[in-house]
Assembly symmetry: C2
Homo-oligomer: 338 residues x 2
Amino acid sequence: MSATMRDVARLAGVSVKTVSNVVNDFPHVSVATRTRVLAAITELGYQMNFSARNLSRGRTGMIALAVPRLRLPYFAELTDEVIVAAEARGYTVLVEQTGGVHERELEVLGSDRRRMTDGLIFSPLGLRPGDAPRLEVGYPLVLLGERALHGEVHHVSMANVAGARSVAEHLIARGRRRIALVGSYDERGAGAGSLRTQGFLSALHAAGLEHDPARTGETLEWTRATGAEAMRALLDRGVEIDAVFGLNDALALGAMRVLFERGLRVPDDVAVAGFDDIEDGRFARPSLTTVHPGRAEIAGAAVALLMDRLSGAPQRPAGEEVVVPHRLIVRESSGQGH
Amino acid sequence: MSATMRDVARLAGVSVKTVSNVVNDFPHVSVATRTRVLAAITELGYQMNFSARNLSRGRTGMIALAVPRLRLPYFAELTDEVIVAAEARGYTVLVEQTGGVHERELEVLGSDRRRMTDGLIFSPLGLRPGDAPRLEVGYPLVLLGERALHGEVHHVSMANVAGARSVAEHLIARGRRRIALVGSYDERGAGAGSLRTQGFLSALHAAGLEHDPARTGETLEWTRATGAEAMRALLDRGVEIDAVFGLNDALALGAMRVLFERGLRVPDDVAVAGFDDIEDGRFARPSLTTVHPGRAEIAGAAVALLMDRLSGAPQRPAGEEVVVPHRLIVRESSGQGH
DNA sequence: TTGTATGCGTTATCAT
DNA sequence: ATGATAACGCATACAA
């Protein structure tokens, strides 16, 4: 097997403690012994046994990130950023997929696996008010993209309401009056779906418009495929529309594809907008108007918040909410007026 | 702190060994004691300390997956599948991003972090013949998407050559004769780039065609953005083309976007095809002709191969190569003839 | 079927 | 500045 600290110590003629001091950059080690130890380490090809270190230290140097699924571009890009941010602080990330299934999401919170990590960054698809107690876990937890259910848990959220409102305002300013809403959500939830819908509706009301429920394309999953289905259903029902707001970019892209298939021109006949600013939207045809939610900032803030708690930094107020600013990005899919 | 096995044992009136037997589903435990122990476990809310278990067992129950970046759709989808496959076998996945940088890729192989996992599934962007010795690591390793450099390491690869050849044959059958190649690769590498290019060229040669080097759009990174740049450069140079083969879908999608911006019709003026069958291609406008490389199969095979080695299963021949079958998927971007 | 004793490789406490 | 030694929590011979 591979060498242990004991082997290194023996070879260098010092005690294990000294070896430990060296590998951990403990300040008080004479240059002579340090070099001697380092030499022994390279000679033996010694590598730290993390299990032993973790057991002794009582922590693991790993954090978990729970997302619905990596195949959803938004979460892939988010995970990418979280890994980068964690890495910068010497932490390793363990990715957990919940499938966005409520039951699985709750399971993940209490899973045995949580004992393998020091903390959890959790991006639920839709927590419900009744779930609040389940969030009182015994380890550092940071919630993403969710309004705090009870104010006890730290969380980082994007400007769901404001972002959706600005998209709707933009469409209205472009002269659109019959805007379809594609994507729905668990009504018991308090997640992004409900918040974005709120923002959307508030803009309509502010403009003195009504949202005809017939113009809502129901779909629980937020993928291109379901967005396409919902759009088809709307058109098949003969609903009249001059714009589409997808609750996320994937839905919007799926819808846009169907509009194309049905011979409707975007944006001339129907303007389209989404939410998330995923990479595909930038290169789609036409390119997709959307809301940039500050993914990198969210990831950075979440990791920072979690690290603060791990290092026992001056306690931030429980339930503190970090809201990352958004940015409306107007592209071709809503570019011109009628 | 949280309860230990000792606490559980004490409460249940048994020894730690018995508790251990219960939580590990050891066969010979009487129903009476088992239920007693389980009761104590739930009462105390006991959860296994993985660090301790790992130290004792000598393994961690985690595997690492090293990919270039999760923001690249192909790798996001691949990672998704690997996590699912690993989960099914009780393993947790730790994701490592190499950025596709050769230096970082080699570092990852020997990093301290490797001691936190039982094995590694490694998806390099381009290993070079000289790197072979670096692949002789002291732990189970499975390479993805790479032809074995020396035949010592196990690997799972997609049909890069055959897939690219079938794409090129398809374009040629559609009457295309001036096919641009978008995307290049480190010439020192033996990665997907070189293999796909080989397949592409072989189809041309078989058809008695020459590939004019002027029709190659150089770009090391394989993203939509770089694909777009390369396409712009080609068109700006006034190169005449009637088709584009992107070394992956992202490149092809970026190129297609530029063709649109320049007023060229796809597929009427220029047919486009990619490789990878990422989700965006299905919903792009026009939808993208591509090669489905069997992502799920690759992930499954890689995990299976790694698990075999972890469990010390009957040694498979070193350097065995599992090649997953591909499938040409013809869509709108190359749908019609001239 | 269950208990006892020992080891896993590090860190931390306390001396020196 | 360095060393001896006791945890850390669990698994596993070996006993009983």
